[in-house]
Every structure is written in C-alpha cells, then in structure tokens.
Symmetry: C2
Subunit: 347 residues, 2 copies
Amino acid sequence: MLPITLKELAAELGLSPTTVSRALNGYPEVNEATRARVAQAAARHHYRPNTRAKALATGRAMAIGHVIPISTQHEIVNPVFADFIAGAGEVYSREGYDMLLSIVPDAEQARTYREIRAKGTVDGVIVHGPKEDDARITLLVELGLPFVVHGRSTEAKVPYSWVDVNNARAFQRATEFLLDLGHRRIALVNGLEFMDFAIRRRRGFEAAMAARGVACDPMLMVQGEMTEAQGAHAARAMLALPDPPTAFLCSSLLSAMGVRREVEAHGLKLGRDISIVTHDDELGYLRNGEAEPIFTATRSSVREAGRRCATMLLGIIAEPASAPRHEMLEAVLVVGRSTGPAPSSAR
Amino acid sequence: MLPITLKELAAELGLSPTTVSRALNGYPEVNEATRARVAQAAARHHYRPNTRAKALATGRAMAIGHVIPISTQHEIVNPVFADFIAGAGEVYSREGYDMLLSIVPDAEQARTYREIRAKGTVDGVIVHGPKEDDARITLLVELGLPFVVHGRSTEAKVPYSWVDVNNARAFQRATEFLLDLGHRRIALVNGLEFMDFAIRRRRGFEAAMAARGVACDPMLMVQGEMTEAQGAHAARAMLALPDPPTAFLCSSLLSAMGVRREVEAHGLKLGRDISIVTHDDELGYLRNGEAEPIFTATRSSVREAGRRCATMLLGIIAEPASAPRHEMLEAVLVVGRSTGPAPSSAR
DNA sequence: AATCGATCCCAAAGCGCTTTGGATGCTCAA
DNA sequence: TTGAGCATCCAAAGCGCTTTGGGATCGATT
C-alpha cells in the first residue's frame, strides 16, 4: 500500500497539484471552501508530503543532526545522552523537525561533519561533548553549517553558540559548602579532564579551596569515565591513605554511588563520617531520591539543556545571520542526607 | 561555501552528469581512465551526492527509523536505549545508512508510524519496547513498512521479525541457581509487567519455582520502572516482612544496586545473608565489575542486540519478499560475589 | 462598454540525482 | 566496403514537491 502523492490527491479532487500544495501550506490565494475540501481529502488519505521531495524543492531538510562521539578506548556512550536527546526531541517534533543520529568514533568526527554537510541531510547540528580545544567548532564555522554546542570549548578561537551549565560555579559552591562544614580533606572524583566540563569543574573546586587557603592534594583528585566502578575504586584508594578525605565531590551520580558503596563497605556512615556532594544531571532513570534528595548535589537537568539547545539551534536556522547565542544554566545546590559537619578531631 | 553538485562536477570535467553519476556508482559503461578522473575530482571537492535528491531518484531513503516510546507517566527513556543505538549505529554507518530518531509518547506511536511511512523518510524501522500485545506490529505489517522488533510481542497475531534475548530461560536458570543454593524465599524485582520481556522473565521465574514445588509469594514480587530507587524500595519493604526473602532476582543492574544498598543498610552481608542475581545488559556506563563480576547475573549485551537488529533489518530491506526472521540470543549466567548458600536455619 | 482589481486557479520549471534509450565512433569479420 | 558489435558517452525524463509567472473569471468602477 503505497502512500498517496500530491499529484494523485490533486487528480482525485479535480485540482492542480499547485493548488493542493498551496491549500495545504496555508497560502492565501486559495478559496476557503476548496482549502477545506483539500484538507479533508488529505486527512482522509493520511496524506503527508514526501519529506525528500519537499526537502529537495525547498532546500531545507527539516532535520537536525546529532553527532555523538564514542570514546574509542572505552566504547562508552555518555549516559546523559539519552536524556539530552529526549529533551531535544520534544522540541523537534513540536516544530516538525526530524532528528538524525550519528554515533561516530572520535577519530572520524571531522569526516562525518564534512559528509553531513555535503549530503545535505540536515539543516544544523548539535555538538556533543566538547573538549577544551575542539576542532569541530572551527570546522563547522568553516563549513557554514549552523550548530549549537552543548557545553563550551575554552580554547576555541572563533565565536560560536552554546548552551552550558555553569560548571565552575557549581563546583565552587559545592566545595564552599563542604568547607563551611569544616571539611579540609576534600576529594575530587572528576570526569575525564580533556572534556571541557571536567576542566571547569576542577577549576571551580580549586578556586574555592585556594580562596580558603586549603591545599589541594593531588592524591585526592582523580579523573576518569564516570561510572560506579570509578567511584568505588577512587574511594577505596583514598580511604586507605594515611590521611584520608572526609568528603568527596563527584562529577556524577554513578560515581557517587560507587563512593557510597565503598564508604559503607568501610563501615563508615554517610553524612556523619564521610560527606558526599555530587553533580546530578537529573537523568530519568537515575533519580537522586524523590521528595528529599539522597545526595547533596549540584543539580541541573540535562534534559532541559537538550530542550534549550534544540530551541536555540532552530532559532539560528530561522535567522542565520544573527550573532552567536549563549545560554548559561545555573545548577542549584540541593542539600540531601549525604553531607554533614566534618568529624571533629578523631581519626 | 555551498557543497558542489553533480552537475557542477560534470561541467568542470567536461562530461555529462550521466557519465559522472555512472562513474561514481561503479557502472561498467564508463572508461576506466575517465572513471579515475572523475573519482579524483570528486575526492578533491569532497563531493557527496545530495541524499535527498538521491533518495528521491532511487526511491530508497537510505535511512532507518528508531521510534523510542517514552512512558508518559514517568517521562523516562529506557536506559538501555543508548547502548542499543550505539550497536545499531555501527552497522548503519558501515552500510551507508542514516539513523532517524523519534522520541514519542506512547499515545502517539501509531500516528508516528503512519507519518513516517507517508513521509517516506526511512526504509524501515526498529520497534523498541514491545508490549505483550503490541498494536504497532499489526500496523506496520498493514503499512508495508519493513521492521524488526527488539523483543517480542507474545500476543501478536501476525508473523513478524524479531531479535530477542531468551528472557524466560535466563530467569528460569537464575532461579534454579538460587534454588540450588537452598534459597526458598526468593524475591522478584521485575520491570513493568505490561512489557513483554518482563512477563517472560516472570514466567521463567515462576516456572522454575513451580518445578521445585516452591510457592511464589506475591509479597515478594514487584514490578516497576527499573531504577535504583525501585530496588531500594522493594528491598526495604520486603526485608521488613515477618518472613523476609533470602535472595533477590532483579531485572536490572540499577535495581540490583538499590537492593544492595538497602541490604547493606540493614547490616546484612551480600552473598552471605542475602543473595542477589540480576540481569545485566552490559551497558557501557554500568559495568558489572571488571574481570570478576560483582553481581551474579544473566548477561546479554544490548549493544550486540542492536547490531543484530540492524543487520536483520537491512537484510529484510534488501530482500523484501523473504519470510520473517527471528534471532534468539541466549543470556549467559555469570557467577559473581553476590550469591551464596541460603543462610541455614538462623533467623 | 471598456477597464481594472481581486480572486482563484493552473502550467511549467526546477531542486539534484538516477536511469532509460539512444547516439557516436571505432574495430573487425564477412 | 559494409554492417554487426562493442565501448563510451549523452539527452531527456522522472522522482514528488514548491514556486514563479501567468490566465481566467467576475463584480465593481469609470
């Protein structure tokens, strides 16, 4: 059962394809009575214009590309990606856009963007997981393909549009919060520090420590893929130190869960013996408690970020000549049961 | 900087578009010398045929659609989805296909498939998250859109192609394993039981219990969104029962982590006081330990399932008249540190 | 009665590609 | 010498849609 075409629909109605097209696209030069007739027939047949033909005729693909980097060593897809996509997808489907996904090893990113541009399958792209100095940004500017970066690239030399969480401030505040509770031995369990967000988080942490004249101990700072295992490993190693941390600052709920496991395995009690603050992306399947948060956390919805990115990109596509846009999301610090005053003297 | 078109390329080479097209597509009726010239020029200009035009001309979109249902109550995107997509994406990019994503509330599924079909944006679709009696299957058959279901739909009345894990057998074996260890009070922490996989898992569990003449206690069976919180909740409630379980069978690593947390919070030791077996989808960011598994688990890579589904679908598209295809993946039971003999008498 | 504007509709071109059905030489056997 | 056969190439149509540039029709205006 082949889908009905515009021409067939026109034939059935005794109209020209032109008129049917205009009727359906809301042009004024068509009688309201015939427009109604057309609309009715279209609905009856479940008619939808063929996207490929429409795209070819209009020059607009009505599709947005998401190029998801996949780290070649670990073959891991960033777990925030599903939620981000869900947020962006809401916006796209509301605006009649399709979403095109490419999951591409780091090494092939440039080639992929070139191809996407040449093949003309999308009107714009979202850049995921920017590094500190990300070559994709220059490339995309050069290619003239509209794009929005989810995150930033500190070292980028050209202006570009982005939506980002204020990672530095979030981690600075989290650190201050722990310092205020009397903690001095604070561990940082961070993401991979070639990722821009991870660098900013570390800087925020360091800035807060420096401002209070507390030294950062390299032994208490790790980076890595943000998994449960990472958190557990880090905690195990650090708790075995002669001068172990009294608090952990984690970049992800999964890491925090790993830390918690190890903490409890040591017979220590969370919020009394050891404090944990974590960043919380508010992933659908990984909630930080319900009404009351389990972990004290810097919270920022990655799904909302997806919505914002998509909205911004569609705006840019609608107004290509406009200046680069930026949107900074502030994480809120929510206090849960995982933090408490530093254990006074005893150790 | 607009991408170069076939016509322009032809003009530059002093050839007709026809010849250039044939040269690039490997048709025999073109001189090898000119083919080389064409190929070289194409490479120099990073030429790629415009997908929309090509699709329109050939009638093949060279794209596969994934329609991801989003449960309207919880707004949760199934966490396995990222890994599945990654697996499928590998296959697509290798075969020159694009991947189109629609994230759609349950209620709009039918409309979405209709639209996808009419708009002609894809050559086939993957159906995610089948229910016990899934209307999408009949609809897709009726629409004549090639598809593969990831999972099965027990009550479906028409033949269709699927790739599935043998969920029943996996959970049956897991249950037998626990029974062999002497457990009798076994709790099932399942996914939502309108999902086909969850039903099969329950049946496997029940079959194993029945075969040993052990009664299933409804108080020890819960279903729900498979999150850490779910596991913790379930465990808390069940451990408070007068006759608490000695073992938990979980449908997801996240649930299992929740159960573990609650178990440890009760001062019980995993593998000695309480056993846990879980299903493990081998998600990239949620590994069940490294060399040695943490949880005893029925393991089956969802990423591999993605690869299989994609491969099958491309096969069906290449050979549309062929009979429905099926592929059953067997989960392996890996033994970790979370299981041990049922605590003898003491309670 | 002739002109003019609206109003409503249509023919045809074009988007960038593939593909059908030749056209043009050139070689080689009869 | 001729025509069959082959190797190479090309013109043009067509995929399903939008859009440009009119063409009717008709009531209103002069």
